[in-house]
């Protein structure tokens, strides 16, 4: 049974649920740095670690949105800095196409963001998470791919 669609935005008291997918070598380390240096950023993001941004299967993104993610932030090494030399160049193409697909399906493209964040950019990581969280907060809950269902289980 398909749950009834609920496009109503419950912006009051809405806390975005954001999935972060970070590469092991740069962004995840950057996120760690933000933590260890006690830079404050919203708790709305839950980060999953992958070895390289090119490991991200676009199905992860589709599925996460279906499961109720309000926003997804992918982080990889800056182009040229990939631990595996060229992984993030492939990732750039893959994630660009993924984004176009989401957009053409009718999802707000702003809900999917890719950033290159190095291991030393703890502050920038926190800054991006802050900014992204506020953007998603303004967009309201993601109800399209999540089909407006109660995702609290």
């Amino acid at each position: 049974m398909v749950a009834e669609r609920n496009e109503e935005k419950h912006t009051v008291g809405f806390e975005p649920r954001i999935l972060g997918i970070a590469c092991n070598w740069c962004t995840y380390t950057g996120a760690d740095l933000a933590g260890t240096t006690r830079v404050q950023y919203p708790h709305n993001i839950r980060v999953a670690r992958v070895m390289c941004s090119s490991r991200i299967n676009p199905s992860f993104i589709f599925r996460a949105f279906e499961l109720g993610a309000d926003g997804i932030l992918v982080g990889g090494c800056h182009p040229g800095d990939c631990h595996y030399s060229t992984g993030n160049y492939y990732a750039r193409r893959k994630l660009a196409v993924t984004k176009k697909i989401l957009e053409f399906a009718g999802l707000e493209p702003e809900r999917f963001r890719v950033e290159w964040i190095s291991a030393s950019e703890g502050n920038r990581y926190a800054e991006i998470v802050r900014e992204f969280t506020e953007e998603i907060r303004a967009l309201g809950p993601q109800t399209r791919l999540a089909m407006g269902r109660d995702t609290e289980g």
């Binding site: 499961l67 995702t151 609290e152 289980g153």
Partner: protein, 340 residues
């Protein structure tokens, strides 16, 4: 009892039927006309040759919950889906499709173990058959002794005349339903005559005819013939034929869970799919598409006959009309039967 109603009052008939039970009837959708559960009587249409998919879904939905469950920290809470179905009425079923219910009864409701999901829905459903008034080149139901205006198996049988729809009670159940619907009008003796004439006229419609004699044995005999490779060469191994078919009944049982809640469902499956027979070990006894096409043909025209004494095909022509590569199941059987 024969009754009539103006075609323009079809929605009034639908409303009246909806008061007597859940109504399933043909509805024009984005892809063509298909049986649907009716919420709005105005949706019902009788302008179609035959529906895209068969009406088997009324008794055997593509995905049918058997048990709903909730996974908890210390176990699972389950809830069986009750089988006490409300009365149902299915309107506008062509004679060949009505026959398909009887064909499927032999599998689902016959033998030692009865399938309660089929059986209970079947028992609670009143069938309103609907005569063909023309013949599509793909059909071959005449093969199975089914007439274009054959009321066998229907509770009420219906034909479309000029401006009027005529409904005749066939079974007691049908008579009872017919008698209870006040929007229906009584008929004149001329109408009676007209109805009989139309029935006789439709009965003269003949489809293609497949010679079925000796086919079950022949199929067994030519099982290992390279013919199957040739016959299956155009086949895409998609599941269209099996999903539009009124007598294909293969299914899978799956637990589908989301956020700890889910259902054990039975879901249509297709012998055309590679993973249909794939073992957990990775071994697959049917890895070639010729084997899968052969299974579909032999199941319908040989194994089913051996087990249930009836061909598991009613010649409705759906698989032929819907096949992306235009495989004609009748020609495939004929080809096998013609082998030396």
């Amino acid at each position: 009892m024969l009754k009539k109603i103006g075609l323009e009052k079809l929605d009034a008939l639908a409303s009246a039927l909806m008061e007597r039970g859940e109504l399933f009837a043909p509805v024009a959708g984005d892809a063509g006309v298909d049986f649907q559960r009716i919420d709005n009587p105005g949706d019902v249409t009788l302008d179609f040759y035959n529906t895209l998919r068969s009406p088997k879904e009324v008794f055997f939905p593509q995905a049918d919950d058997m048990v709903r469950y909730r996974l908890t920290h210390d176990g699972v809470e389950t809830e069986e889906i009750p089988l006490d179905f409300e009365p149902r009425i299915i309107l506008g079923v062509r004679p060949c499709d009505v026959r398909s219910f009887e064909v499927m009864d032999r599998l689902f409701a016959g033998g030692d173990i009865v399938d309660p999901y089929w059986e209970e829905r079947r028992k609670s459903t009143t069938i309103i058959g609907y005569a063909f008034d023309r013949v599509d080149p793909a059909d071959f139901y005449t093969t199975f002794g089914i007439g274009a205006a054959d009321p066998t198996g229907s509770d009420i049988f219906m034909i479309k005349g000029e401006g009027d729809l005529f409904l005749k009670g066939i079974t007691e159940r049908g008579e009872e339903l017919l008698g209870s619907i006040s929007v229906l009008e009584d008929v004149s003796p001329e109408n009676e005559g007209y109805f009989e004439e139309k029935i006789a006229e439709s009965a003269r419609l003949e489809t293609r005819i497949l010679a079925t004699e000796g086919v079950p044995e022949k199929l067994e005999a030519v099982f290992e013939d390279p013919y199957w490779i040739e016959a299956a060469a155009p086949c895409l191994n998609c599941g269209v034929c099996t999903y539009v078919c009124p007598t294909c009944h293969c299914f899978d049982i799956q637990d589908e869970t989301l956020f700890g809640k889910g259902a054990r469902r039975r879901i249509w499956d297709s012998c055309m799919f590679t993973d249909f027979t794939l073992h957990t070990s990775g071994h697959n006894p049917r890895t070639k598409k010729s084997q899968r096409l052969r299974q579909r043909i032999c199941h319908k025209f040989s194994y089913y006959v051996t087990n249930f004494d009836v061909v598991s095909c009613v010649g409705c022509g759906r698989c032929i009309r819907s096949c992306p590569v235009h495989i004609d199941i009748m020609a495939v059987v004929e080809g096998a039967a013609a082998l030396p």
